[in-house]
Every structure is written in structure tokens, then in C-alpha cells.
Subunit: 208 residues, 2 copies
């Protein structure tokens, strides 16, 4: 968090080693938004307590607390909220829709495979889970779609870092944790390096 | 489609009996946007041809063709694009983020269970697919989150029909096709009726 740029009452409930939560940290850091982070360990059931379920009945991190009674779940919706009016959120109608296209791609065709493979290997150490063949096949398909798009784009939308890159970066730069061989995706690896050169970007920490 | 309200070069590639595609038809009908619909039968592989993959390398319907060389995939990104500047897309920053929250909920916590159960039963008739116990459990969890929210809301966001309702309506009003018992969700059923009373709303057709 960059200190003192904005005085704010924002709170985030999240787990630092979760990609969906790391997205929110990246947006806050890049935008210099002050925020109090409440580390919430999903492995200890802290996102399923009655108190947590009052904030998000869906029982998932991250949650952004906007004011005393307003809680915003869904990592990519939080990115849109934080980025509004900033260069991270394109001003043009079509470019905004294209950023959303990649946010929905990330949640539907990417995260359910690449993040879940990482979770099974790194968090619960189920190396022989029967889901792995399907997770790897579909995760590689998502990486293939990214590799194709990066053939003629430095960033996913609008020629610069946007929330589309932040959302996709979160689990992609740790895909190796789930057993994905990134040697096959040179453009994706170059894009990860390009993202990491942007002010405020950082790698996600390993689980505690 | 309401005739003649707007002259436009928009094209949609979609399958009428797919909820993700029905969302787009609803937004077009409600907004009175003229558009040419190209029926694309995913059961015949029409979303995996080289021509289709040039429009959407992810091989999914729907795709909105915005101009000769611009193709927008992802149903919920298309909803945002079409609804911009209309009452279907809230003007307030927080309400917009809350609409997006439900769009991401729909694609991550709802569609992968409720739509997939419908697909297995109605399209490929695999009534004993081993995924059913998990699909039903998670689908019912999503319906439970909706039922809770509708306890004090007539619509999901902003007190009126928005793209959040359109996105959730698409597969929810046909959840029975996938074997879900909607008798348990009286508020969801009342909300479906409320949605269907709005001008331009319609039920999704059965597979051809």
C-alpha cells in the first residue's frame, strides 16, 4: 500500500495468497488507494463464519467494505469499482467492453482450471486428484487463448495496463504452482515480465 | 426483435436455446436495437469452425459483431456494451459495481452448475452423469444466495430491471430443465414472474 495518498475508510477482507485477493491488492497499490486489509484465512473457515456470511452470503473472498453497511464481493467487480475514472479502466465504450470480456473470460475459462489446480497442489496437496486431467486440458486451452491474443498486443486491451491485465496476471504468473508448463507460452511469459515492470505490480506471496 | 427502431450493422452469432445467448436477445429486445441473428448450432460444432474461431478464439457463443473487424465475445460483456447509457445499466458507481458483482456471480457460482445440469439433461441426455451430485449441490447454493438477496429486493440492483436481472434470469427461469426443484425458492419464482412482466422480456425456447 502506498502511504498517505488518499484518506479512506475502505476495508478489504482477503487472503494474501489467493489470486482473486491479490488482484485487489494490485489495484490498490497501483492506484495509491489507502485501505485496511483484514487477512481472512479460508483454510481455517474464516469466510464461512456467520459474521463473514453477513458481508457476503456467497462465502468467498475478497470482499471490499465500501462503508459501514455496504460490502462488495467478486474480485473483478471490485477491480471495476476501484479503477473507475483511472487509466486502469478504459474510457472508450468498446475498450471497456473488451476489458470486461477478458474479466469474464478469466472467471469462466481460466480461474476455474488454473486457480483450482494451484489450490489442489499448493493448499491441500491432493496431487492425484481425479480432476487434474480436465483441469490441465482446460487450463492449457485458456493459456493458448492468451498466447494467441498476445501475438499482436502488448497488453490485453487499449495498449496499456488495465484491469484486464491485473485480473489475468493474478493466477497466470503463478500457474506453475498448479503444474502448468509455462515454457510453451513465450508471449504470456513476456507479458508477465511487462506487467511486473509497471509501478505497483508485484508477485503474489506463497501460502503462509 | 422490435422492428425499425434503430438502423444498425450489429450481428449476433448465437444459439436461441442457450441461456448465454438468450441474455443478448433480451437486451436487444428490451432496448429496441435492430440486429441480425445468425443461429449457430454448437451441437453441430458450428462454434469450433476456423471461421468461428477467427471471431472468438475461445470457441463460445454468443459473439456480437460490432463492425467489420470487431467481435465481442462473453455474454455478460455484451450485455454491458449494449446497455451502456440505458436504464438497464445503473448510472451510479456503486450500483454499477453491484450489477457487475451479480454478473460475475452468475458466471462463476451459478451458470457452471445450473446451465451445465440443463445441458446434460436437455441437450445430451446424460441423466446419470457423475457430475450431477456436485452440480445440484452448488446450483442449489446459488439459488439460495439469490433467494436470500430477494428477501428485501424486488430486483437485484437499483430497484429496477438491470442487466444483473437479465443475466440471472436466463438460466434461472429454466433451472427446472436441469432437475432443480424451484418450489423451494418462492422469492426467486416471484422475481421470475416480475421479470417476465417487463416489456421485451421473454422465456427461452427449448432446443430445436
Amino acid at each position: 500500500m502506498q502511504p498517505g495518498t488518499t484518506s479512506t475508510s475502505l476495508h478489504v477482507y482477503g487472503m494474501a495468497s489467493s489470486g482473486n485477493c491479490h488482484k485487489v491488492k494490485l489495484a490498490l497499490d497501483i492506484l495509491g488507494i489507502a485501505c485496511r486489509w483484514h487477512e481472512t484465512d479460508i483454510m481455517k473457515g474464516e469466510s464461512r463464519t456467520p459474521e463473514f456470511l453477513r458481508m457476503n452470503p456467497n462465502g468467498r473472498v475478497p470482499v471490499l467494505q465500501v462503508d459501514a453497511n455496504t460490502f462488495l464481493p467478486e474480485s473483478n467487480a471490485i477491480l471495476c469499482y476501484l479503477a473507475e475514472g483511472s487509466p486502469l479502466w478504459p474510457g472508450d465504450r468498446l475498450a471497456r467492453a473488451q476489458a470486461l470480456q477478458w474479466l469474464f473470460f478469466e472467471q469462466y475459462s481460466h480461474e476455474p482450471y488454473i486457480a483450482v489446480a494451484r489450490f489442489l497442489r499448493l493448499f491441500v496437496k491432493r496431487y492425484d486428484d481425479p480432476r487434474f486431467p480436465d483441469l490441465m486440458k482446460r487450463g492449457y486451452a485458456a493459456l493458448g487463448v492468451m498466447e494467441t491474443h498476445l501475438g499482436d498486443h502488448d497488453f490485453f486491451v487499449a495498449g496499456r495496463l488495465t484491469i484486464a491485465d491485473i485480473a489475468l496476471f493474478a493466477y497466470t504468473h503463478r500457474a506453475g504452482d498448479g503444474g502448468f508448463d509455462m515454457a510453451r507460452y513465450p508471449r504470456v511469459r513476456a507479458w508477465i515480465d511487462r506487467c511486473l515492470q509497471q509501478p505497483g505490480m508485484s508477485s503474489m506471496p506463497a501460502p503462509a
